[in-house]
Symmetry: C2
Subunit: 194 residues, 2 copies
Amino acid sequence: MPRPKEFNPDEALEKAMQVFWHKGYQATSMEDLLTAMSLNRGSLYATFGDKRELFLKAMDLYCTGVGVGSRLSILSRPGPAIPLVHQFLEGMLEFALSDPQRRGCLIANTAMELAPHQTDIAKKVSGRLQHLEDAFFKLLTRAKQNGELDKNKNPRALARVLVTMMQGTIVMIKAGTPAEVVRQTAETVLSILK
Amino acid sequence: MPRPKEFNPDEALEKAMQVFWHKGYQATSMEDLLTAMSLNRGSLYATFGDKRELFLKAMDLYCTGVGVGSRLSILSRPGPAIPLVHQFLEGMLEFALSDPQRRGCLIANTAMELAPHQTDIAKKVSGRLQHLEDAFFKLLTRAKQNGELDKNKNPRALARVLVTMMQGTIVMIKAGTPAEVVRQTAETVLSILK
DNA sequence: TTAATACTTGACCGATCATTCCAGTATGGC
DNA sequence: GCCATACTGGAATGATCGGTCAAGTATTAA
């Protein structure tokens, strides 16, 4: 048995994810990461690999733990579908708006910063977006069957609108749009479901 | 009279803007810029100031010359308003989709990369977004007066939806979403005007 | 107690970063 | 033709980048 690590890798990765989320990939230096994770170079490289590997692990953690992924379960709850959509989007919105650092969403940030230049990262990003779209699609399909959604509506197209809308909202929040304007805009988009 | 420059500052700035647009601020090195602008360090710093100043000038050029700004005139044409909205958005969409580099929009890119960390840049970005929103608003107000747009619709809210939608679309394009999906999604959003 | 293991630490590497500066040189006004 | 001007080209700056490595140390298994 090896000597145990003096730090908690999960907590360290969480810290790294926070920094990447806040500053982006390029603007984050290994120095930043070492400070935030409060460990030394050797331990970092031995545990997480290089900067890129660490970033990929941080993305995974974000998806499962903190970001949209963690709230995605709302969309698979039973009961009336449309209220669930509202509940989910309102939760995401307030979460993003309440962040004084305006970090937005790591997935959206990465889509903008890295996806066009790195195909594997683009795949990861679009996989997550697809996942979100599918969750909306399932729920909207149910809504259509329930009669909550008009029969001539297209659940797939609407799901894509919701995803696109979320990404756009993140851009607007990062640009400094006032919270009330963001809320009203989101509400207006949701009228498309009626 | 000084000795005339051996390069065209406008053309050089255009090149710089292209690089910033493609790679973002952080990922662009002065080396990249020097190569693209095909001039030497001395001339660059003497003519455009440091990297940050050059970027701000590149943003200005983008707004007036290449980006949304240059196509904004479509929105102030006379005649039926709603078709103009469609025409404008379709133009933007095809422009963004036809770019093999998936550069998106320099304003949106900057909103994501720099706006949360630099208040002056955030101001510049949100100013441009506001400008776009106002153009939509004016047109939609006219549409409402014309009877092209339903009386119970809110032009301000709809204008904001269109702006948010455009930003979201850029994220989706950068994430690698197929062109046909992007087109269908945009079309679905526009059903909100009916 | 000892040997093997592997985590910790910080010095160190070459590369690259943005920026400065100084010759060298071409131009315009006289 | 000559001087002042200022553009050009590239060397050089110190800082910082991501990443490596060897020495020191703590832990476990025997």
